[in-house]
């Protein structure tokens, strides 16, 4: 008899939200995978992302691991692709930086010396088109706003937990979503949003990746750990 394993949904989440996560949890069930709890109360173990591949560096002893950075409208994701993920690894070999890519990835959390940080372990990676990226931004904006709404209600277990752990500034997340969407809509020549875009640019600094936040990259971490499932 075939056992039907429930596949984890690939969540839609912006870099700002996912990369600010530090807390992990499991379900009650014995076989529960490890989930990351985001500041907006999303429990996730897999994500689907469309963004720009901005860095691709060979790492590891034999250079058999790629460290990649994917930038979206709110920040950037860091991922490691090793030969143990042959599909993603082989696909990545043929993709240059500054290319729009779509990836499905497992979410991993590592403990650095000073803090925990999130990285991605891509399962698939492929070249994406701008239209799909735009739709991804919209999907992700909608799903993020839905999470903000749940946080405001504060009824669900994960929302309560996220509030307790992160006490996030919901207004800031709303602004980030708005900015992400409005910036993308510039390509569609919407005149009425011009003012908002200007506002957004002023605020942009706030959403630049804080150097301190990514200092963990300089920490020596055991890369082999990344390859374990």
């Amino acid at each position: 008899m075939t056992v039907f394993l429930k596949r984890e949904v690939a969540r839609r989440v912006f870099a700002k939200e996912l990369m600010s996560s530090t807390y992990t949890l499991r379900d009650d069930s014995e076989k529960s995978p490890l989930y990351v709890l985001t500041p907006l109360g999303l429990k996730c173990n897999r994500v689907f992302i469309i963004g720009v591949l901005t860095e691709k560096e060979e790492r590891g002893e034999d250079g058999n691991i790629y460290r990649i950075r994917i930038v979206d409208q709110t920040g950037s994701f860091i991922g490691y692709v090793g030969k143990y993920q042959p599909e993603a690894y082989e696909a990545l070999e043929d993709i240059d930086t500054l290319t729009l890519v779509a990836l499905t990835a497992k979410v991993r959390v590592f403990e650095g010396d000073t803090r925990k940080f999130v990285t991605l372990r891509p399962e698939t990676i492929s070249i994406a088109d701008p239209e799909s990226r735009d739709y991804w931004v919209i999907e992700t904006a909608i799903q993020t706003l839905e999470r903000i709404r749940e946080m405001e209600k504060g009824e669900s277990e994960t929302a309560k937990l996220a509030m307790e752990i992160y006490n996030p500034d919901l207004e800031e997340y709303k602004r980030a979503v708005k900015e992400a969407v409005e910036r993308m809509m510039e390509d569609y020549g919407e005149l009425e949003v011009e003012e908002e875009i200007l506002e957004g640019e002023e605020e942009e600094e706030e959403f630049e990746f804080d150097e301190e936040d990514i200092s963990f990259e300089e920490e020596e971490i055991d890369l082999t750990e990344l390859l374990e499932d």
């Binding site: 890519v101 499905t104 698939t124 492929s126 706003l145 979503v177 809509m185």
Partner: protein
């Protein structure tokens, strides 16, 4: 009894009290259906009107021909159905007043009420007769359209609805193709008549070594961020998306001496792409009947974000 006789019998039953002649009905029906190839409902209407005129039968006796939902199989038909409103969905356009799902004891179908039809809104859980609604095909999904000339009559009766688990449900899904499984691409099926199981390691799990037949398909995972669907796309679907059909797939495999080359090519073209799939959902699989790259109208989609933004 052939179809003509059956229909004639039906009409005769309705009007036998008015002295109608069954033979005459059969003759006329035959002429309309067999000789003139008139659609059935038109033929019936013609006969009924004839009887009303010639025999002075009251028009009100006209019993409606209620179509069962499972009988609705093709677009451009005008039908009358008796059904319960199972679900109402949010209308995506100001020109559509209501949209949702209705059902009777034989099945479910989507319906929509055009704003221009100016109808009283229907309510979930109530039963109605939807008269003179026209069937259309919206990207592979059949829908009932309530237009200006349609009628919606609420009825006291509670129409029994086929339970959802008995229905292999027609669904439309937009999602990202996040995985393509290994047993996709150019595959082999068991050659035994009526078997068609996929050959694994050179053997059919049922019949062992047989003369295999080639096939092209994709088994993958469609994911919309809320749930996943295990989707099966057959040769037609693969061809519609990639231009690769079975012949071309065989050629690729022949040229590279590698059947797996087809799968690699398909992955390159399809992984991470948003697809719109219309098909039949069973508890396990979504079997695609129609599949295309999803082309969003970003200006329209962004309105959803703005609406949500207002709300919170």
């Amino acid at each position: 009894m052939n179809r003509v006789e059956k229909l004639a019998e039906q009409i005769f039953e309705e009007y036998k009290d008015y002295g109608v002649d069954k033979k005459e009905i059969i003759e006329k029906l035959k002429k309309l259906l067999v000789e003139f190839r008139v659609p059935e409902n038109e033929a019936l209407r013609t006969i009924r009107n004839y009887i009303i005129r010639e025999y002075g039968a009251p028009a009100t006796i006209r019993r409606e021909r209620i179509t069962k939902i499972e009988e609705i199989r093709e677009p451009n038909r005008w039908v009358t159905v008796k059904a319960k409103v199972i679900q109402l969905w949010e209308s995506s356009s100001p020109s559509i007043a209501q949209v949702g799902l209705i059902g009777d004891e034989t099945g479910h179908i989507r319906f929509l009420v055009w704003t221009k039809a100016k109808k009283q809104p229907v309510e979930e859980g109530k039963s109605y007769i939807f008269r003179n609604v026209v069937v259309d095909d919206f990207g592979g999904v059949l829908r009932l359209n309530v237009t200006k000339i349609s009628e919606i009559e609420e009825i006291g009766e509670d129409v029994e609805v086929k339970p959802p688990e008995d229905v292999s449900e027609e669904v439309e899904v937009v999602g990202a193709l996040v995985a393509i499984q290994q047993n996709s691409g150019l595959i082999q099926r068991c050659g035994v008549e009526g078997c068609s199981r996929v050959i694994k390691m050179g053997k059919c799990p049922e019949h062992g070594k047989t003369q295999p037949k080639d096939d092209l398909r994709i088994k993958g995972v469609l994911d919309d961020g809320y749930r996943t669907y295990e989707v099966i796309i057959n040769e037609d679907g693969v061809k519609a998306l990639t231009g690769i059909d079975l012949e071309k797939a065989k050629k690729i495999a022949g040229e590279t001496l590698d059947r797996n080359a087809v799968l690699i090519e398909l992955k390159k073209m399809l992984l991470g792409k948003y697809l719109r799939v219309v098909g039949t959902a069973t508890p396990r699989y979504l079997v695609a009947r129609h599949v295309e790259f999803f082309r969003p109208d970003i200006r329209k989609e962004v309105e959803k974000v703005r609406a949500l933004m207002e709300e919170i």
